[in-house]
Symmetry: C2
Subunit: 110 residues, 2 copies
């Protein structure tokens, strides 16, 4: 199993939804609206790439459609664990800072 | 220098543009509408995190704003080189497949 970070830039709503549900079907975890993460076996990766290519090719282009781009990065577990995540919700700034052992979360209430 | 993959999920147009121009100012390369990649020194990373927190905190919330989330992944060079990238433009499906030595691009004209 290898860990993958998958990001996509897709303007067509139908295509974007189909890509998201495909990634979900492969057991990947949604970490942002247009980003998933998770482990895949080599044969699953190959099958996923085939599925993505099929969707990008077959869903009809829309008027004014800008881009269809999917990027799949194999990353080590330490890249996930060592990430920095900053979010702001309900007046609270949250910062997660991973390190080599475990992450710590800090919540700043404004 | 460490390589970072930075992805953001931001619904507020003003904030998203400010985040993008900040990442550009740090010399990072835009690889998708909401994703940048590039090398940073440790002190630059720290300064960038401060800048992002400031923006997330200070740009006023809009009516119906959904999310403000930024994730920064430290990745090894091999993750960038070993990526798979699939895109579709002007009736052409492009597939880039990296490997441990160099990437190869395949263009499929439909």
């Amino acid at each position: 199993m290898i860990l993958f970070l998958i990001i996509y830039d897709i303007t067509n709503d139908k295509l974007r939804n189909r890509i998201a549900s495909t990634l979900k079907d492969y057991g990947l975890e949604r970490i942002q609206y247009s980003a998933f993460i998770g482990e895949l076996k080599r044969y699953q990766l190959n099958s996923l790439v085939i599925d993505i290519k099929k969707l990008l090719r077959e869903i009809p282009m829309e008027e004014g459609e800008r881009v269809r781009n999917v990027q799949i990065y194999p990353i080590p577990e330490i890249s996930r664990r060592g990430r920095i995540e900053i979010s702001f919700k309900d007046g609270k700034l949250r910062e997660y800072r991973g390190d080599s052992t475990r992450g710590k979360e800090r919540v700043e209430i404004l």
